[in-house]
Every structure is written in structure tokens, then in C-alpha cells.
């Protein structure tokens, strides 16, 4: 398959892994931010090719994993209302709320539908004028432009039975939180290529400078990840701390201006609470006052339930790179994909799910 097989070529991977091994002279710890990269690392066994002195940590880049329990409860409450059709990406359906998931809510009679794009949810709203279609808008900067476009079009076309339950979050504040933690162990980052396809690389410059940390924007295939690691290690060994772009076939420094404009039109930066991590200032997107009429929390006057995460679940530590999934006492015993304690065990980008699926002994 073109544009995929080239980046999984065994011979090239072995050569690059060898170059990486030669370049490491000290102990380094690098975090891959995106859950898609985590899955590629575990699935292809990339970590087994790395030199002993280079340790990988898995980061918080799994949008499903960081969506607060409270918001999942709100989505379920909305879905149970007879007039509501709740549209969600497939990943979200198995994620446990405080009592059940959207999947079990569907079995109890809720109208929950999987969509591939927010624009599909908007189309559904026009096809079902008697119903209230709510899109559960989850994701990092990568999915924000299509969410924004759906609301923008809804307002333009006067589709009043469409609204959003918003949980969009941003990558740079999460990196700040990890770097500011007193238990900081991260020497360098692989930044998520797809996020930077939209936002560009400039946002990471102040973080690299201020925290003296190399950040390499990286793709998702084995060769991408190894090359990204090689670039981070070279910076570390040479004492540099810069933003570099490994994923140049998709990312340009300025990002996608059109996508940024539509995000800017519809959303503003707000504080958001991250599941397992807590509230982070200026870490998410919320609808601007002009679009407040499309905010489902406002339209349906949803109350905060104040529920807490399951105490046994340590997904917050996993998301911050402070606990490896296999070191969690509940992993594979009291926490499995069939009976998850937290979202990291069921999301297709969750670190616990990656280890359960590919590594369980």
C-alpha cells in the first residue's frame, strides 16, 4: 500500500534503529504525546528496537481518555431524553461514565448513533426536524475544525435542532502541565503530527525555550517515530532545545490557516477539566457567545453532577507518563476492555488498551 508500506520497511527501520543506538550516550526519557503513536509503538514493537538508555513514556494525547466522567454522564443523560439523538465518534461508546457507558445507555433505549464526522450529525439534524440532534464534540485540535464547520453551517442554514456537547482540548497546555509537575521525568517530546497539521509548529516554540526541552513534530508510522526519536536524541546530546518537524510531508510551520480561521470563528479558549488529571487553565475550546445557542449544556440546562473518577483507576498517572499500564495493579485483572475502570483501557488511543491488546503475557 503506497504511503504506508514505505514507512514500515523493515530494512530501513533496522538501519535507523542502529543509528539511534549509536547516537545515545546518556540516559534520556522521551514522551510521545499522541495515543496514536503509543499504539504504533506497542503494536509494531518499536520500543524493543530502542537502546536501553532511551526510555519512552506515553503521553496524554488520547481525547477520549481525558474527557471528564461528568461530561460522559451528561451525554448519557442527554441521550436518554426521548427527543434527543446523540451522535458520537465510535471510540466514545465503550468509555465508562460514573455508572454506565453510551453503549449500555443505547441498550436501555437511548438513541445513540456513531458518526464519522460532525457534518454527518448536522445532516441528520436536517433529516430529523422533529428531533434534537446533539453531537458529542470530543478531540484535540485535529478534530476541532470539522466540529467548528458543523456549527458554522448550522447557524448559516438556520438548523436549530442541532447542538454540541463540547469537550475539545488543546495539546500545549497539557505539555506545560507535564513539564511543570514536580515529578517531571521528560527530557523531550514527540509532538502529535496531526494536531500540528492544523495548528502549525509555532505554539511549541515558547515551551521548548522556557522549559529547555526539544520538541519534534512526528508522524505515526514506525519510520516516522524512529526518526522523530533520533531527532530528539540528537538535540539532547548536542544540548539543543528546539522545535523541529519530522512530519514535513503533512505539517507546515504555519499549519492550515483555513482550519485555524474556522476554529477562531466558532470557539474561544476556556479552562477545561481533564479526566484523571484535573482542571487545567486555558486548556480547551468552548463556543463563543455568538454560537452559545448551539451549546447543548445551555440548551438542555444540564446540571453538574460532581461525580468522581473510580478511585481504583490510575489513568491520570498513566496519562501523565508517571505509571506504565502494566505496573497498575488493576491492569488485566479488575480492569479489562470488557470491564474497564477508566477510559485508557477502552479507547483506541488509550495506553492501557494498547498494552492489553498487544502485550499481555
Amino acid at each position: 500500500m503506497r504511503f504506508v508500506d514505505e514507512y514500515r520497511h523493515e530494512h530501513s527501520v533496522v538501519r535507523l534503529a542502529e543509528a539511534l543506538r549509536r547516537s545515545v550516550t546518556r540516559d534520556w526519557t522521551v514522551m510521545e504525546v499522541c495515543g496514536g503513536q503509543t499504539h504504533a509503538i506497542v503494536r509494531f514493537g518499536i520500543d524493543a528496537l530502542l537502546p536501553e538508555r532511551l526510555q519512552l513514556l506515553h503521553g496524554p494525547g488520547c481525547p477520549v481518555c481525558v474527557t471528564p466522567v461528568e461530561l460522559i454522564d451528561k451525554a448519557i443523560a442527554l441521550a436518554m431524553r426521548p427527543e434527543v439523538v446523540l451522535c458520537s465518534f465510535g471510540d466514545m461508546l465503550r468509555v465508562p461514565g460514573s455508572r454506565d457507558s453510551l453503549m449500555t445507555a443505547r441498550a436501555r433505549g437511548a438513541d445513540v448513533r456513531i458518526v464519522y464526522s460532525p457534518l454527518d450529525a448536522l445532516r441528520l439534524a436536517t433529516e430529523l426536524p422533529g428531533r434534537e440532534v446533539v453531537f458529542f464534540a470530543v478531540g484535540f485540535e485535529t478534530t476541532a475544525p470539522t466540529t467548528a464547520m458543523a456549527v458554522y453551517q448550522a447557524r448559516q442554514r438556520g438548523v436549530h435542532n442541532f447542538s454540541l456537547l463540547v469537550s475539545h482540548v488543546l495539546v500545549p497546555p497539557a505539555l506545560e502541565a507535564i513539564l511543570s509537575s514536580p515529578e517531571r521525568r521528560v527530557d523531550g517530546f514527540l509532538a502529535a503530527g496531526h494536531v500540528c497539521t492544523i495548528m502549525g509548529t509555532a505554539q511549541y516554540e515558547p515551551i521548548a525555550r522556557q522549559h529547555r526541552v526539544p520538541i519534534v513534530v512526528t508522524g505515526f508510522e514506525p519510520l516516522d517515530i524512529l526518526q522523530g526519536l533520533y531527532m530528539v536524541v540528537r538535540q539532547l546530546e548536542e544540548g539543543r532545545a528546539e522545535v523541529e518537524n519530522q512530519y514535513s510531508r503533512a505539517v507546515v510551520p504555519g499549519g492550515n490557516r483555513r482550519a485555524q480561521e474556522i476554529i477562531e470563528e466558532v470557539f474561544c479558549v476556556v479552562p477545561r477539566s481533564w479526566r484523571g488529571i484535573g482542571s487545567l487553565p486555558q486548556s480547551g475550546l468552548g463556543l463563543r457567545p455568538d454560537y452559545a445557542a448551539f451549546d447543548a449544556e445551555r440548551r438542555f440546562a444540564l446540571e453538574a453532577s460532581g461525580v468522581q473518577e473510580d478511585k481504583e483507576c490510575q489513568s491520570g498517572l498513566v496519562l501523565m507518563g508517571r505509571l506504565r499500564p502494566v505496573d497498575c495493579p488493576a491492569f488485566g485483572t479488575r480492569c479489562t476492555p470488557e470491564h474497564p475502570l477508566g477510559a485508557t483501557m477502552v479507547s483506541s488511543e488509550g495506553a492501557c488498551a494498547a498494552y492489553y491488546r498487544y502485550r499481555r503475557a
Binding site: M1, V13, F44, F89, Y116, P222, Y356, R360
Partner: protein
């Protein structure tokens, strides 16, 4: 003033299924006469009897199986619920090492189903039965109210004969056995998903839905010491391998590069975030047999078949796969249906 007479039977032949079609009355008999009897005519089937009387199988052992079919949409590229209902049961019999002979078919029809749809489905059943060399000899029809069914559900049961002395079952699997797959994987799963979700794939993918009685017959007729057969249905290759490992108490090592996948299936999986090993098939099977018979078995199965792995003893029993970079990973039993990812 003249009052119109209310009549339960429409004067003209209805073009949709009515509740009355399931009532056991004249309309039901007309449905049997018009749709089912001509399609499934058999010397052993008695259209107007409660069951079929079948000739004895002699010294052979009998294999018996049943399966229910619910699929949305009813029609998909490469097949429909009717073809599926015949192939599925034929394949379950074939996997027991049996020669499938007779099928029963029970239909649950939803009020309002266009008669033309039913006729089309029954036509595919007839075609699939012909391909598989089986007869549909008995059946049943029920009609449920509109909104209580997805148009059409089918349950088929089947009887076959085991005419050899082999015990084709997971318990016969031995360490050192070769694991073969009869063709490329995942086309049924992608074809159904594409139609169901309205995905506009650049190259339309046809379901692999097909009866497996003939390839199995060829393997057995050649005298190969087949240890186990397993068709790949829901859960795909991953589920079938894990089931075999658990049932036999032995481990299976798979070479990822040897697993046959078409480019269009790989592409769809990359885009949607699906694991091709977990995609449903409806016309593919695993064959486990002694390593030294691999070459002969592959020749009998045809050019699409592949030798994908080997059975070995290890504790606990597990399925492992060698990836493109040489690293081994476990293959896990799928956890429910696969859900497309966010980005």
C-alpha cells in the same frame, strides 16, 4: 347507502408482506406456493408437511447445526442475507468435516416487506444451495408487526454426513501442525460496513460470502490428515485463532506478512482504524494439519490460500504474530464489535 364489505384478504396479490401472511391462512399458503416451493423444490422436501423425511446415512456419522441470520443492510456487494443464511450453515457443517446435505429455513418477516425483496433473497438462497450441493427441504414462516423486525430474519439448520474416520476438532490439533487460511481476509466485514455507514470507498469491496463445502471435500477426498477446520466469521482470524488456541491448549504463531489481504481492505482498515485480523469473513476458513501435508493442501485450496503459521506448545496457550519489523505481539480476542476511531 351501501356499506363496503371488510375483507381480510386483499383482492389483488399484495406486493408487500402483510401480517396476514403469517396467519397460517390462505395468504400464507399462497406465499409458500409462489415464493418458497418453486425455489427450494426437492424430492425429499414436502411443501405441505411439517417436516422432511430423509434417507438414512448408512454407517456415516451425522453432523447437525443451526444458525440465525440478522444483517443490516439485507443486500450488500457480493451477497445478501439469503446467501449468508445458506453459506453460514453449510460452512458450519463443512467445518465438522461433514458433507452438507439438507437445510431447513425459517423466515421471520416484518409486515410491509416488499414481496420482491423476499423473492430476491429466496432466489439467492436457491443459488447458494445449488453451489453448495444442498437441498432446502423444510421451513417455516412467521410475520411480525411493522417496526418489530429489520425487514427479514432467517434461521437455517443443516444436516451433513461425516464419511471418514477423522476427528476434525480442536482436540485433534498437535504441536508442529501448520495453520493455513483458504483465502484473503476481511472483505465481508468491510463490504457490509461500507454500505451500512454510507462510506464511499474508491474501489468497492465485494463480500467473500461463499459456501466452503467443496474445498473441504477436496481436502478430505485427497486423504489429508486434517486435524481441525474453523470458518472465519464474526471476530475474523483473530477470534478463530484465539478460540482454537484456548480449545486445544496449544499456542499458535502467525507470520503477519503471510496473512493474505487485498490492498483495498488494507487501505480501508488504515483509514478507519480497523484491525483486518478482526474483520468478519463469510467464505474463508482455517485448516490445521500436519506440517508435511502443507504443500498438498495449498495446491488443493487454490492460489489464494496461504500458510500463515504454526502450532506450538507453550503456557499459557496464546496467539502471537510477527509484525513487519520482526517484533512479536499477542493477538487478542476482539472485545465486541470494532468501532471506528476519532482521528
Amino acid at each position: 347507502m351501501e356499506l363496503p364489505l371488510l375483507c381480510p384478504l386483499p383482492a389483488v396479490e399484495p406486493t408487500q408482506i402483510l401480517l396476514t401472511h403469517g396467519g397460517g391462512g390462505r395468504l400464507m399458503h399462497r406465499l409458500i406456493e409462489r415464493v418458497f416451493a418453486p425455489a427450494f423444490a426437492s424430492p425429499h422436501g414436502e411443501t405441505h408437511h411439517d417436516g422432511a423425511l430423509l434417507p438414512p446415512g448408512g454407517a456415516a456419522r451425522l453432523a447437525f447445526t443451526t444458525d440465525a441470520y440478522v444483517v443490516r443492510p439485507l443486500f450488500f456487494p457480493g451477497g445478501d442475507i439469503g446467501r449468508l443464511a445458506v453459506c453460514g450453515t453449510v460452512n458450519d457443517l463443512a467445518m465438522c468435516g461433514a458433507r452438507p446435505l439438507y437445510l431447513s429455513a425459517a423466515f421471520i418477516l416484518e409486515e410491509g416487506l416488499p414481496l420482491q425483496t423476499l423473492e430476491q433473497v429466496v432466489g439467492s438462497m436457491r443459488q447458494a444451495a445449488h453451489e453448495a450441493g444442498v437441498e432446502i427441504v423444510t421451513g417455516d414462516t412467521k410475520v411480525v408487526e411493522r417496526g418489530r423486525g429489520d425487514g427479514l430474519y432467517i434461521t437455517t439448520a443443516g444436516i451433513g454426513l461425516v464419511e471418514h474416520g477423522l476427528h476434525v476438532a480442536p482436540a485433534s490439533i498437535r504441536a508442529g501442525d501448520a495453520v493455513l487460511v483458504s483465502g484473503d481476509l476481511g472483505r465481508h466485514g468491510v463490504a457490509v460496513l461500507a454500505v451500512r455507514e454510507g462510506l464511499d470507498l474508491e474501489c468497492p469491496i465485494q463480500s467473500d460470502c461463499a459456501p466452503l463445502a467443496e474445498p473441504v471435500r477436496r481436502l478430505l477426498a485427497a486423504g489429508l490428515q486434517v486435524h481441525c477446520l474453523r470458518d472465519l466469521t464474526r471476530g475474523g482470524l483473530a477470534a478463530a485463532l484465539v478460540e482454537l488456541a484456548e480449545a486445544s491448549g496449544l499456542s499458535i504463531a502467525i507470520d503477519g506478512a503471510a496473512v493474505p489481504l487485498r490492498e483495498e481492505v488494507r487501505g480501508a482498515c488504515e483509514i478507519l482504524g480497523l484491525d483486518p485480523l478482526q474483520l468478519a469473513c463469510e467464505g474463508r476458513f482455517l485448516c490445521v494439519l500436519p506440517e508435511e501435508e502443507t504443500v498438498r493442501a495449498l495446491a488443493l485450496l487454490g492460489p489464494e490460500a496461504a500458510h500463515i503459521g504454526r502450532v506450538h506448545a507453550s503456557t499459557p496457550p496464546q496467539v502471537t504474530l510477527r509484525g513487519p519489523l520482526g517484533a512479536w505481539r499477542i493477538v487478542e480476542m476482539p472485545s465486541g464489535e470494532q468501532l471506528p476511531r476519532i482521528c
